[in-house]
Symmetry: C2
Subunit: 374 residues, 2 copies
């Protein structure tokens, strides 16, 4: 690959997004899910920029997912109108939710217990405010939600009354899979969990208008989205090394890297020192428990070609250490030259960068600003 | 401790700094080092705010340390004039260094190899620019620097000529200690390394005007700073759980916490779910290899009292999971109530927050803005 000259001239470390790969990843999953009759509600949490939303959503009325109210407010200000805040609602946050809904934003919230449901219905009554609430279903024992067969499902939905909209599950546990068969089974489990919960609601005459499932692995392996309104996925936008280990992508599908400069060597130890520590790469060690441990990231040449078996082995705040294998000599890595590091976990690495640099398909340079905070 | 009412009313998660503890930590180390005849060059990288610098430095001409040029520029704009950028210099960054020096900022840079030294002297000659350069000495085999006895020490200093200022070492390896004796020995090793390198330079008639040592553990355990110009330390400002494990502080000295709201339970598993995931706490698992593993942070009540044996056991982007021990019941943690989480690594947790909330000694509320980027 030819590297445009501007890539050399920016101060390192910086986050680089390859627009051509980003676009390809987005189109691929959209086509896949739509060919199965499904629809995406992309999660915007990986990049948290207005520009990325533009690639992910055909227009501003299309459904999207966010992980904080700060994102919901920023996307609402930019004209997006259908947003799911996919973290269990804290009662104190209902005021901010109400403010957005009063502005005509269809901001959906999530909950999984009666205390939250009562807080919602109390607030709604007191302030004459409509809400749209998803109940979280636990399909894999990994975090929040209630089981599809839990008795309180019906009670919570009844407590919510007209504020109840739908059912949502997230198979975060699918990150533990690494075969196609296991991923297919996990995707089925996700769908079956909400289908089964929906049947129970219907048997109690409670209408459920949306069923929402998804994670990047299950969205790429699900085979049957019938009776599923929407599929959520986020990190597929750029992919990362965790997703490569799971088997969802290859190195060449990873659209995010951190550009770094070599600042020294420890020849005795065979180390190359760089100016990218955990402040630029993040502390995420998501590949540590996987089939291949990439340390703090896979090392590539500046043109993106992968340097086999080289990763960032350790980091401090602003230093990275690459331990050379026998195939390499310190002289192959002159002081002042640049490398690119592929991230373990794109969401975590992006979170360290208030500004991203974009390599556009035509070789030109763009910048995107991250939406910060909560 | 009484909690001021404003603490309840802010949206969680947010970073809270206790000013009274911060002040006490700062005064304690200053008095300690000065009583031994030493002087501090505090590292500003933990909080990266103008306000914290105000507490750490008696006036704006006092020496300070930074970890990025973005910090150097921000502190220079605020009037600070003596700054050490303590990461090996990348040749492409010399232009930004020169811009600051032209403005009268005594920005010192760091290097450990001939390629960097040549880049500095070439730039200096080409642009008629003075630099002030520290050579990094490796006192503990943990990262960068050259050994005090390395032949190239003299060559590098000679290559730098009039740009050479001093010697610097950082005993990052001291983080592996957890007894007073080991820490005292590490502090001595740091000082001895630069003393020995300085003697070699003097034997070659090279004047070394500054010797700089330090890390938070060694600054708190060093017993003899004779012939040492300055002692650097950073994380002692707020301390954290890693420092507690090393034995440098106790829970009550930790001035930083993340305030979080309980959003649900998994009663079957004995889990409490919160709205603070790794986005608020950071992915840092620095206590994982230490005597006590605090997961993603120690759980405290909202008034700061420590809940023995409770930590955040797992996180996803915006969720934290606290696994209850037998001493606690889910009912002790009602949905909507708040907790405080003490950080494993204050530098990493602060890095996740563009804005900090400050509990002032008089109970009032303040905010500090973080200097972002590189």
């Amino acid at each position: 690959m030819t590297v445009p000259q501007w890539i050399d001239t920016l101060d390192t470390p910086y986050l680089l997004i390859d627009e051509a790969i980003l676009k390809r990843n987005i189109v691929h999953l959209k086509n896949r899910v739509e060919s199965l009759g499904g629809h995406l509600r992309p999660h915007l949490k990986t990049l948290r920029t207005l520009e990325a939303a533009d690639y992910l959503l055909a227009d501003k009325t299309r459904p999207a997912t966010v992980s904080t109210l700060a994102e919901a407010e920023a996307y609402a200000n930019a004209g997006y109108t259908d947003l799911l805040y996919a973290v269990g609602i804290a009662p104190a946050k209902l005021e901010r939710v109400a403010q957005l809904r009063k502005r005509g934003i269809n901001l959906h919230i999530l909950l999984d217990n009666m205390a939250q449901a009562k807080a919602v219905s109390d607030f709604a009554q007191k302030h004459q405010q409509d809400f749209s609430v998803f109940i979280e279903i636990d399909s894999d024992d990994h975090r929040g939600g209630i089981k599809p067969e839990a008795p309180e499902l019906i009670d919570i939905a009844q407590q919510l009354g007209r504020h109840f909209t739908g059912l949502m599950t997230h198979a975060g546990g699918s990150y533990g899979c690494n075969t196609a068969d296991a991923l297919k089974a996990f995707a089925k489990r996700e769908c079956d969990a909400v289908r089964s919960a929906k049947s129970r609601l219907e048997a109690s005459n409670i209408h459920c208008s949306i069923t929402s499932v998804g994670s990047t692995p299950t969205a790429h392996y699900g085979e049957d989205f019938s009776d599923i309104t929407e599929v959520r996925a986020g990190v597929y936008t750029t992919f990362d090394l965790v997703m490569k280990n799971i088997g969802v992508c290859d190195f060449s599908d990873i659209a995010m890297s951190v550009v770094t400069t070599i600042i020294g060597h420890n020849k005795e130890k065979g180390w190359v020192l760089t100016d990218s520590g955990w402040m630029a790469l993040s502390r995420d060690r998501g590949t540590a428990g996987q089939s291949k441990d990439f340390g703090y990231g896979q090392v590539c040449r500046q043109d993106g070609s992968v340097l086999t078996e080289l990763c960032v082995n350790s980091t401090s705040q602003e230093h990275g250490v690459i331990e050379l294998t026998e195939a390499y000599q310190p002289e192959d890595f002159p002081v002042g030259s640049q490398l690119r590091i592929l991230p373990n976990h794109a969401c975590a690495t992006a979170a360290m960068h208030p500004l991203y640099h974009i390599l556009m398909s035509d070789g030109s340079h763009n910048t995107w600003q991250r939406i910060m905070g909560w």
